[in-house]
């Protein structure tokens, strides 16, 4: 298995070069929200390890919000991020990036302080690690996605065309046998997974055990943790009952711009940022929250769902400016409103855990309750913090995470040497 890697290059936009940068980024799109996968700057299609990639200008329009804490507004310099989720290790991906898109990236990053020279070294210097990262299905490579999609389309085309009369009178087992033979003789490639890198396995194991260690430790320190917990709760309630909400709609023109680039594909991009509530308590809160999310995403939510949500392909949480601010990015299926509804109804508690530490978030109770359940306030909060993603690439347009999972099950079923009748019927229902 080849685990996915990720990269985020974050750089400050040189003063006076913002509009040049925006023009360059826009030139990669056929129309706003629709990238040309063969564009001259970063020909994404040739970077065939990529699942999703984006360029986003981190232009936070909510910087005034901090004034509700009687703190002065801080004007952070404008920055731009290039983000990619891909197969395999980061270093070799950066090599590929430089080889295939080096000149285009150099032009883009020239607006952000890249003065020529070693682009790879510059990108590595400007890497930012996510505090938490989520991958829908760990180890499902783009090669697998492509091969399985081709397999599924091939079988469906057969079953709906020439094959329809052939299989009409067959038993499920005979249909499966026919399909197996057909696929075998068709030359469709189903590459076996590469061996799992040993280094990755070891780091996973260490991380897993480290996480688990907290359980015996917690039991050991229970006598201390209980009073600490009570103190924590008191402080939490003090914050929750006094933290002010910022409940405003995003400006209509911003909302229009966001909408303009959405819903061109069955999947969508989401980018948002905001400032964290000041003070050590909220910082502690979110730090723990993100460590928990990252750990569970690495070890528990690795097979197609984050909590009950099955529509997120990749997501990341990134601290900015010394943990004063947080950036969130995701690639999800459906439209933003259904995504938000899904979030509110299915993982509202998880959202609250993290985002309630952001300034202005709808009021939570005991960290996980309410908050997002204040539906319209939450949706306004989301829209207001959302950033237009200037360029967004989806390597498998028209296919949702559920589609990819189905295709994997089709392949697994096809490759199994034997199958019970009940399983065969279920497998055939996938087509």
């Amino acid at each position: 298995m080849t685990p996915q890697g990720n990269l985020m290059v974050l750089a400050t936009v040189t003063a006076g070069r913002e509009s040049e940068l925006r023009t360059l980024l826009a030139s990669m799109n056929r129309q706003p929200g629709v990238v040309d996968p063969d564009n001259a700057l970063v020909p994404f299609r040739r970077l065939d390890r990529i699942h999703f990639a984006r360029f986003v200008i981190l232009d936070d329009r909510t910087l005034d919000d901090i004034t509700i804490y009687k703190l002065p507004r801080v004007d952070y310099p404008l920055s731009v991020a290039f983000i990619a989720d891909f197969d395999g290790p980061q270093n070799s991906f950066i090599d590929e990036l430089e080889r295939i898109a080096g000149s285009g990236l150099a032009r883009i990053f020239a607006c952000c302080g890249f003065g020529g020279g070693d682009l790879k070294a510059w990108m590595k210097e400007h890497r930012t690690k996510p505090a938490a990262n989520y991958v829908n299905t760990v180890g499902r490579t783009m090669l697998e996605v492509r091969e399985e999609a081709a397999l599924r389309d091939f079988i469906c085309t057969y079953l709906r065309g020439a094959g329809a009369p052939v299989v009409a009178k067959m038993t499920p087992a005979q249909v499966r046998k026919t399909l197996r033979e057909l696929v075998k003789s068709s030359g469709i490639k189903l590459t076996p997974p590469a061996p799992t890198p040993i280094g990755w396995r070891i780091s996973q194991l260490i991380n897993f055990i480290t996480g688990l260690l907290f359980i015996p430790l917690a039991i050991l320190f229970l006598p201390i943790l209980i009073p600490l917990g009570i103190i924590y709760l008191i402080i939490l309630r003090l914050h929750e009952t006094t933290d002010a909400e910022v409940d405003r709609r995003a400006a209509p023109d911003v909302q229009r711009k966001l909408a303009e680039i959405e819903d061109h594909d069955v999947a969508n991009q989401f980018s948002a940022m905001g400032s964290l509530k000041p003070g050590w308590f909220r910082l502690l809160n979110i730090s723990i929250g993100l460590v928990v999310i990252n750990w569970t995403a690495r070890h528990i939510f690795t097979r197609g769902h984050l909590g009950r949500v099955q529509t997120i392909h990749f997501a990341r949480w990134v601290y900015l400016n010394d943990r004063k601010r947080l950036y969130f990015a995701s690639n999800y299926d459906g439209s933003l409103d259904s995504y938000m509804d899904d979030f509110i109804n299915k993982v509202g508690f998880g959202l609250n855990l993290v985002f309630s530490n952001g300034i202005g978030y709808p009021r939570t109770n005991y960290l996980v309750f309410d908050g997002a359940k204040d539906e319209q306030k939450f949706k306004r909060y989301i829209r207001r913090h959302q950033l237009p993603t200037e360029v967004w690439y989806d390597a498998h347009p028209g296919r949702t995470a559920v589609d990819l999972a189905r295709n994997t099950r089709i392949r697994e079923g096809l490759e199994r040497s034997s199958m019970s009748d009940a399983d065969t019927r279920q497998w055939l229902q996938l087509f």
């Binding site: 249909v175 209509p252 069955v266 909590g307 949500v309 109804n345 319209q376 559920v402 497998w427 087509f431």
Partner: protein
């Protein structure tokens, strides 16, 4: 929070579709003279039906005729409704159904159904208001009385009057019994929505259909208010939770109008072809596409337990969920009514007990891989209030019709909801038009779908009928049967708000 709903302040369409009044005509108009329009509004105020049922002491005249008025954002602005209401009116209402390319993409209003192609409601002929006129018989006289002398001075019709027809046995043009399933509105304000509801219920909080009352999140949906000084005659009620403001939205709701044509001949001839000319097979396939037989019988067995908000008299039509049919072998997952109302609760139906609940909450323990893909239904209900138009064309005759008779048939689809995006738009986009609904792919609603191609998908024109034996029966090349000719987003004000609009200087 308000303790009771003043039904005399709510337009009657919220309570009823006026089905006893079998004659109805809708006028979509543009205001050409504001003073006359306001004077006309003054003249008809007393004629607008409210939601007090005749048996509850309502005006007996209201049993025989009805008038309802709904305004688009442009109409309200022309009539002088204060600009500050923009802060409370939803953005989708202000933008309108045809106002943004993104909205059209999401609703499936593209290609031949794009707003530029509409007869009315498109970018150049948005209606300022719709005037809905109903009568038990002799509609014309009532219509003349409603229109009065000011009509033609005040308004220009953006399209010819939208006629309706009454088809016997409550069928819609395709020949299926219609209007069987509606949410039951909690007029008594007795329902307090819980954080998590484990059972599908049909009793829905009033706030989902009426502004000013708690919705299914137990919150008040955002609504327009005006400053006190903008309501000097104190026509409106004080706005709860907004000191110094008066409530323009209270007891009002949003009305979505979609003027649909239905290709009755096209549907039945396609079904006939798929059934090799066999009448029973054709009807059966039609039932699978709709999710009910032409007579309205559901395709899945009735639930053993009663369902909240399903009255005894409608139990045979509506006491069911799809829990007994997770794979869709009885009622296809993609069937029209299963898409429009998947009948699921907040949590999967097998969520019983603390441990199981915790497991499911984290997304584990699903009995099937494609389980738990559909959003909880209670946040996505609408009250349907549409009317058919065109003469009946029976399925058997539609099959025989060699050339189209050229007579338009269809549905003036109307629905009411407090939050257009979360309710109507969600159902339309994620469920009806969604090619990926509930883990399906390459298909949209067998009746409503526009079959528009999607990048990366082989097709969007299939309809699959899952089979217990394995491979689904796959119907391919399903044509488009329903197209959109016009429409808009409107606001159905309370009676007070109507008086307020009429009184504006």
């Amino acid at each position: 929070m308000p303790s009771a709903i003043d039904k005399s302040d709510v337009q009657g369409l919220v309570r009823t579709a006026f089905n006893d009044m079998i004659e109805a005509r809708f006028h979509a108009v543009e205001i050409i003279d504001v003073t006359s329009a306001r004077a006309w509004l003054q003249s008809v105020l007393a004629l607008v039906n409210n939601s007090v049922a005749p048996k509850e002491g309502g005006d007996p005249a209201q049993k025989e005729r009805a008038l309802q008025l709904a305004f688009s954002w442009s109409g309200l602005r022309k009539l002088g409704v204060p600009a500050g209401t923009a802060d409370g009116f939803s953005l989708e209402f202000q933008s309108g159904m045809s106002g943004e390319a993104n909205r059209s993409r999401r609703l499936g209003d593209v290609g031949g159904d794009a707003p530029e192609q509409w007869k009315w409601g498109g970018p150049n002929n948005v209606a300022d208001l719709v005037v809905m006129i109903y009568k038990i018989d002799n509609l014309a006289a009532w219509e003349t009385e409603v229109q009065g002398p000011l009509w033609s001075k005040a308004f220009r019709e953006v399209t010819q009057p939208l006629d309706t027809s009454h088809l016997d046995n409550d069928i819609e043009p395709f020949g299926f019994k219609d209007g069987l399933s509606q949410p039951k509105v909690d007029w008594a304000l007795s329902r307090k929505a819980k954080r998590e509801e484990f059972d599908f219920g049909n009793l829905i909080t009033a706030g989902e259909f009426l502004l000013g009352y708690p919705n299914e999140y137990n919150k008040l949906t955002e609504r327009p208010t005006v400053a006190e000084k903008e309501d000097p005659n104190r026509i409106l009620m004080p706005a709860e939770g907004a000191p110094g403001r008066r409530d323009f939205g209270l007891n009002g709701t949003y009305l979505v109008f979609r003027d649909l044509t239905q290709d009755v001949r096209g549907l039945w001839q396609f079904l006939d072809k798929q059934s090799a000319g066999d009448r029973d097979a054709r009807l059966q396939l039609g039932a699978l596409a709709v999710g009910r037989t032409t007579k309205g019988d559901p395709l899945v067995p009735l639930s053993e337990k009663p369902i909240a908000g399903i009255e005894p008299k409608e139990e045979k039509d509506n006491r069911f969920t799809y829990d007994s049919d997770p794979t869709g072998t009885r009622c296809p997952i993609g069937a029209h009514i299963r898409r429009a109302n998947p009948r699921v609760a907040d949590m999967p139906s097998d969520t019983k007990g603390f441990f199981k609940r915790a497991l499911r909450l984290l997304g584990f323990g699903a009995p099937r891989p494609d389980d738990d893909l559909v959003s909880s239904v209670r946040f996505h209900r609408v009250l349907r209030r549409g009317r058919e138009y065109g003469p009946e064309l029976k399925p058997d005759d539609a099959v025989k019709q060699t050339t189209p008779d050229g007579i338009p048939r269809g549905l003036r689809f109307i629905c009411l909801n407090a939050n257009i995006t979360r309710q109507f738009e969600f159902v339309q986009q994620a469920w009806s038009m969604g090619t990926k609904f509930a883990g399906l792919t390459e298909q949209s609603d067998p009746l409503l779908g526009n079959r528009t191609a999607i990048n990366g998908c082989l097709t969007t024109a299939t309809f699959t009928v899952p089979q217990d034996t394995g491979l689904a029966r796959c119907i391919e090349g399903v044509p488009q049967f329903v197209s959109l000719r016009g429409g808009g987003y409107f606001f159905l004000p309370s009676i007070r708000a109507l008086r307020y609009i009429a009184s504006l200087p």
